[in-house]
Symmetry: C2
Subunit: 218 residues, 2 copies
DNA sequence: GGCAAGTTTGCAGCTTCTGCACCTTCGCTC
DNA sequence: GAGCGAAGGTGCAGAAGCTGCAAACTTGCC
């Protein structure tokens, strides 16, 4: 989710990333301890040892520092989706496109568990997280429309994408709630399987959750 | 969605509702014309002929005036869900619980079409709309858990609710995009039917959208 | 008419966020 | 290794969002 990556960058850019990470980290820790409104941008900046003005050079909003970078994810997901063979059904294709991002979240589990804890405690941030994904959703809808031969204005593309997003969000919240006990990928796959089975009421078909159109991978 | 209701209230409360509506209306019209950042709270208050301070007596945020009242919806939906016979499968139950609210939105179509137009153009607001529903989601999860005999911490309740929300949101956006050409209830039912069928890829099963577990009503 | 409760308003004040100008640092070239 | 241009950091001024408080005004009721 964060740039991270190899250190194949100049000292300058490395420092930038450090500062960015320091700010995001300080923001998360402070807000986790005290609550969103009990932490000012100035305090966050101080903790990261930069001026408040500099904070706004990195994040356009206090909230942004907390929810992280959605732009880089967008490209990643789109690229991944483009790589899924076109005959794969839309819902499955979306799930597969998400695996890369899911793995990355899992890889930075500490950061993300903290982030989700903070986000869940402040619905405004949850909203912001969703908002950040609005652009991603829009792009995904286009791609899905293309794959299925429908218009982006049809119900189906928007619906699959929205539902896929809901499945991912639910999984992440649950993952965080469990403190990362189960792997995120597992939870996501389970959620997509249930959705693919049409969300059967567990009383009527208590087994469907495990079957569905689950994919052996992962 | 707005209190509306009969005039079985004192002059005082009626005036309050008028002011509230005037503020929300002014906010929506101005933002629709100029964009979110080009409208100040002071301008909205002026347009509604009250002081800026009074604006904040009604809405705790500029955004709140735009997205409307989610609290009253919550109760309505919860009450409606309580009235759905417990043997109705969760997803269907949720859809039925939404009909009352859906009808009300349809009844105030002008207001809501404007609102959705504004909201769609400002993802932050869309997010806010979702955030406002966070409390509703939480409450719904409890109820669904109860109905299905699962724990609120299980995946299923959170997932059905989140997916139901996604279906509703998608439908409202599409409804607004079409300028209200088709009835919202129709779109919502269609969306729930597709979801209930497991979101089959339209290429693989091009008919499923129309069938699914659709309910004759509406 | 007059009181109690509820509403509106102005004001002071804090925080978020932006534009601008200045200064420092970095990376590169000659 | 001196020097130059670009990029990053910072301070300051100021607009806008939002809150608490206390004064003024309305309304509902006796």
């Amino acid at each position: 989710m964060t740039p991270g990556d190899p250190a194949a960058l100049g000292r300058r850019d490395r420092k930038k990333q450090q500062t960015r990470a320091a700010l995001a980290d300080a923001a998360l820790r402070l807000v986790d301890e005290r609550g969103l409104d009990q932490v000012t941008v100035e305090e966050i900046a101080d903790a990261a040892d930069v001026s408040a003005r500099t904070f706004f050079n990195y994040f356009s909003t206090k909230d942004d520092a907390l929810v992280g970078d959605t732009d880089s994810d967008r490209e990643r997901v789109l690229r991944a989706l483009a790589d899924v063979p076109p005959q794969v059904p839309a819902l499955q294709a979306i799930r597969q496109a998400l695996t890369e991002v899911v793995d990355e979240v899992q890889g930075e589990a500490d950061l993300w568990l903290l982030r989700m804890r903070v986000v869940v405690q402040h619905p405004v941030l949850l909203a912001r997280l969703v908002a950040g994904n609005a652009a991603t959703e829009k792009a995904l809808i286009e791609v899905v429309a293309d794959r299925t031969g429908l218009s982006p204005d049809d119900t189906y593309p928007a619906l699959v994408v929205a539902v896929g997003g809901a499945a991912l969000r639910t999984s992440m919240v649950r993952w965080a709630a469990s403190g990362g006990a189960r792997s995120l990928a597992e939870l996501v796959n389970e959620a997509f399987a249930v959705v693919g089975a049409g969300l059967p009421d567990p009383r009527t078909a208590p087994d469907a959750a495990a079957s569905g159109q689950a994919d052996p991978r992962v």
